[in-house]
């Protein structure tokens, strides 16, 4: 499941036109804000940094885990955060950009 499919299957996202009559219509996303608390965030963090399969797949990268899925990953944490925030309609401080250990560190 890619991140777009994940977002569509998880949330109700609808487009609402706003600002008509000012400087032209602007489109914003209104979304059902899920109940995602700090405890959920920390559970996802722990999972992402300890699951052996994730280390094989994403070792050495930055990832954003969300409800047991990796919704964004890469080497640049800003880009990883940006991509995740476009997908999941939760407050930005609820998104965790966390490091996944690199398997090659064990010979160092």
């Amino acid at each position: 499941m890619d991140i777009i499919q994940f977002a569509k299957s998880t949330f109700i996202v609808d487009w609402v036109e706003e600002g008509a009559g000012t400087e032209g219509p602007a489109k914003t996303i209104s979304a059902e804000v899920p109940n995602y608390q700090v405890e959920d965030q920390d559970n996802d963090l722990y999972w992402a940094q300890h699951h052996p399969q994730l280390e094989l797949e994403f070792g050495g990268q930055w990832v954003v885990p969300y409800r047991g899925e990796i919704i964004s990953h890469g080497s640049d944490p800003s880009e990883v955060f940006k991509k995740a925030s476009q997908v999941v309609p939760v407050a930005n401080d609820r998104l965790v950009v966390c490091a996944v250990p690199h398997p090659n560190t064990w010979g160092a």
Binding site: D42, L45, P77, S78, C98, A108
Partner: protein
């Protein structure tokens, strides 16, 4: 005084002689801005080290790009990666239930100016981190072979 348990990450290595060797490293989870890097406790590191991808995303106070000991220049490289000296803040999270955030703690050390091949998303907490923040470190072996437990004792 609150404690942060150390997260000992273990690996079993198999040598070319088919011997099994156990190894581990102690970690804690840190929070710097929106990042949760892997924080390795390294008692052989005199200074903390912040990897490049972390360093370029946090606000830090520069402390210099060269240093001397007894009048003689010392290298600030980290395994070939050039570094500058700087200071920032870090929070520590209590894992596995990381809802408790403790800090901020002073993080003074080397900030990498280029990526490291393996430790790119790490922060290495050196001895100065413990000293600067009055943090205690306890590690001991259990009766079962290959098991270590430990924790950081934080100022109350």
């Amino acid at each position: 005084m609150p404690d942060i348990p150390l997260d000992f990450r273990e690996k079993h290595l198999t040598t070319d002689q088919n011997d099994e060797l156990w190894s581990c490293r102690p970690f804690v989870v840190g929070e710097i801005g929106f990042l949760r890097p892997l924080c390795l406790i390294d008692t052989t590191a005199p200074f903390s080290i912040v990897s490049h991808s972390v360093a370029k995303h946090v606000k830090w106070t520069p402390l210099g790009s060269r240093a001397k000991i007894d009048g003689k220049s010392v290298s600030l490289d980290w395994q070939g990666v050039p570094c500058q000296l700087g200071e920032t803040e870090i929070y520590l999270l209590e894992q596995p239930k990381g809802t408790k955030r403790l800090g901020p703690f002073i993080l003074t050390g080397k900030l990498a100016q280029a990526p490291h091949a393996a430790f790119e998303n790490h922060v290495i907490l050196g001895m100065n981190f413990l000293a600067d923040n009055n943090i205690g470190l306890t590690i001991y072996g259990r009766s079962s072979p290959g098991l270590l437990v430990g924790w950081l004792s934080l100022p109350g």
